[in-house]
């Protein structure tokens, strides 16, 4: 046995074998691939069954709740979906407290030993999708509660001073504005629209996003209604638009198109030899891999009108940008862990060569990137608003591929619009091509 550990080429071979084994290890996202395949095939019950089949470890409970919530929403069970989301929010609250036990394990083993508490954007999405569920149920006051909660959450994230990207979420602000306006709270709506405008500009500096045309119209209308003359003039100059009509006498349809699936995290790793003592150090970091969107937009056909949705939240790019901003902290933890593992194997190696070798292998084997994320989230949210006279309408929605061809159709046979009220509808589109990101 000592001959084995002394012989360098044998040792190299062993490490080679080990690396090959490591590469074959399944990350978190692989578990979700079959569920995503069912989603693309519109088999929601089968997807739910698959999700429920395997009980996740306690540290992944949040992911289970988030995925269940989203799958139930896709199925149209909005109340059940909100129960899952409410449990998820409660869990996030609990996980906000620091666990010394988990931190210590994470320092010795890897980041996946910690309970998954959700990335900031995922926490915002929890509130956002709860609000959308309530709007689908026609419970405006309950949706308003979510709008207040997301404001609180963004305030708490701002307290942590993580950076501008985390302090404001464009669509969370925009949706809050829509909710306030639907409830006739025009000054609150104005404030939310302003914050949304700010957030779109801030986020546009980090990743592709622009201020939606609809928001510009909303800013113009709201500032005009409240008699904010100077602000209204400024918006007219900035947007190059004139004030639009007030909507009091009309019913309004707000259609949200949830497109594709959020990116998956994959592990990028490298194993380096540390020459003087024949030790190896492994560095593994998560990286997002985007999934193809499949659809480019949705086209609404209602009452002879054609309206195309526009991007209001780029979840995929937001996720990538947040991970990049989080990288320094991850590298710091990784460095501390590598040093610790290196020291451990050196100490062991001083007493016994074989022991040192085994500790080194254990250290390498346990070094895994944390590839957990909320995989059933869409890649982006698009929005269209149509104002019509009150009545019942048939809404046809065509999902367009990047070439502009119609690939899928959704029909809403009885959309009721009431005077001065907003009707919220959602459509989800997950294309087969969205699955190609991971085998």
């Amino acid at each position: 046995m000592t001959a084995l550990t002394h012989s360098y080429w044998l040792r190299g071979l062993l490490f080679g074998l080990l690396l090959w084994l490591l590469a074959g290890c399944a990350g978190y996202s692989d578990n979700f691939a079959p569920i995503a395949a069912e989603l693309a095939g519109h088999k929601l019950d089968a997807a739910l069954e698959l999700l429920d089949k395997k009980e996740p470890p306690a540290r992944d409970r949040l992911l289970r709740l988030m995925n269940r919530g989203m799958l139930l929403r896709l199925k149209g069970s909005f109340s059940a979906s909100n129960q899952e989301f409410a449990a998820a929010k409660q869990l996030v609250e609990q996980l906000n407290a620091l666990s010394l036990r988990e931190q210590t394990t994470a320092l010795i083993v890897n980041d996946t030993a910690r309970s998954y508490a959700g990335a900031p954007y995922e926490q915002v999405m929890l509130n956002l999708y709860s609000a959308l569920n309530y709007l689908n149920l026609g419970q405006l006051d309950a949706a308003r509660v979510e709008a207040l909660q997301v404001d609180l959450l963004l305030g708490e994230l701002a307290d942590k001073e993580l950076g501008a990207l985390f302090e404001n979420d464009p669509f969370a602000r925009y949706l809050s504005g829509l909710i306030y306006e639907a409830g006739g709270e025009y000054s609150d709506a104005m404030i939310a629209y302003r914050l949304a405008y700010q957030a779109y500009q801030q986020h546009a500096q980090a990743y592709p996003l622009s201020v939606p045309k609809q928001l510009q119209i909303d800013l113009l209308r709201s500032s005009e209604r409240l008699g904010l003359v100077a602000e209204n003039r400024r918006y007219r100059e900035q947007f190059g638009m004139d004030n639009g009509p007030m909507l009091e006498q009309q019913g309004e349809l707000i259609f949200l198109f949830h497109n594709g699936l959020a990116p998956v995290k994959i592990e990028q790793s490298i194993t380096l030899p540390v020459p003087p003592h024949g030790q190896f150090v492994r560095i593994a970091l998560p990286e997002y891999q985007r999934r193809p969107r499949g659809f480019s937009a949705a086209r609404l056909l209602i009452d002879g009108q054609l309206v195309v949705t526009e991007l209001v939240e780029n979840i995929a790019e937001l996720a990538v940008a947040e991970l990049a901003a989080n990288r320094p902290a991850m590298i710091a933890r990784l460095t501390a862990r590598s040093l610790l593992k290196y020291q451990l194997s050196r100490e062991a190696g001083k007493k016994n060569d074989l022991a040192g070798f085994l500790v080194n292998i254990a250290g390498l084997l346990s070094e895994r990137a944390d590839t957990r994320s909320w995989l059933s989230l869409p890649a982006e949210i698009q929005l269209a608003r149509v104002a019509l006279s009150p009545g019942e309408y048939v809404l046809d929605v065509e999902l367009l591929d990047p070439a502009g061809r119609v690939v899928e159709r959704l029909t809403y046979p009885a959309v009721v619009l009431r005077t001065g009220e907003k009707t919220f509808l959602s459509g989800h589109g997950i294309a087969e091509t969205s699955l190609l990101g991971r085998k």
């Binding site: 609250e93 906000n96 666990s99 010394l100 006051d141 309950a142 509660v145 307290d159």
Partner: protein
């Protein structure tokens, strides 16, 4: 010999630790009196609902509007509960709050209470059914309902201030009693609750 003793002590320790760990696993239930205060998360709970409804209704029943109504009509006022809106940061179960209010009012015996619109619909359905199927003597005739004189409306608002993990949660419940004959507001009640919530910084 000494070694053996050490081993035994260790074994005992392990056994005790296992027992402790196991006892933490099983669900433990202990009964509480409904009026016992137990604050868990700092959110709006049953205690708040009971406190607010009891105090506000006690205040409402002391005010002069009841006497005024009796002097004018010679009858007890009939009240109906309208919408109580939740404008707070939390998903508050308004139904239990409204039920608490109704109970406090009916039990006082000083006002008559009219069923809400959804309850009325159900009762009317039953009366229609009686018209067809019930014996003549036991039938309840239509058009004999008691019309409400006043409607109680309200809202729950919150202001939350936070720094780091600490929060100050401020609840304000406003109730308004409005006369259905002339839209006069005859009573305005307000109750405030303030809580300081220190959220734990550490967990297991």
């Amino acid at each position: 010999m000494k070694r053996c003793q050490l081993g035994r002590t260790c074994l005992l320790l392990v056994a005790v630790a296992t027992l402790l760990a196991l006892s933490a696993c099983s669900t433990k239930v202990s009964r509480m009196a409904p009026d016992e205060v137990k604050d868990l998360s700092g959110a709006w709970n049953d205690t708040d609902s009971q406190l607010v409804s009891a105090e506000m209704i006690a205040d409402m029943l002391q005010r002069p509007w009841i006497g005024d109504h009796r002097a004018a009509t010679g009858q007890r006022p009939a009240v109906i509960v309208g919408e109580v809106r939740n404008l707070s940061h939390e998903h508050i179960n308004i139904n239990t709050f409204v039920a608490d209010i109704e109970r406090a009012m009916v039990n006082s015996g000083r006002v008559d209470f009219v069923a809400s619109s959804s309850e009325r619909r159900e009762i009317r359905g039953e009366r229609e059914d009686q018209d067809l199927h019930a014996r003549e003597k036991t039938r309840n005739a239509m058009g004999q309902e008691l019309g409400a004189d006043f409607m109680l409306k309200g809202q729950i608002n919150t202001i939350i201030d936070h720094a780091d993990k600490d929060q100050v949660r401020y609840y304000q419940v406003d109730l308004t009693l409005i006369s259905l004959t002339d839209n006069r507001k005859v009573w305005l009640g307000q109750k405030k609750i303030k809580k300081f919530v220190e959220r734990s910084k550490l967990r297991y």
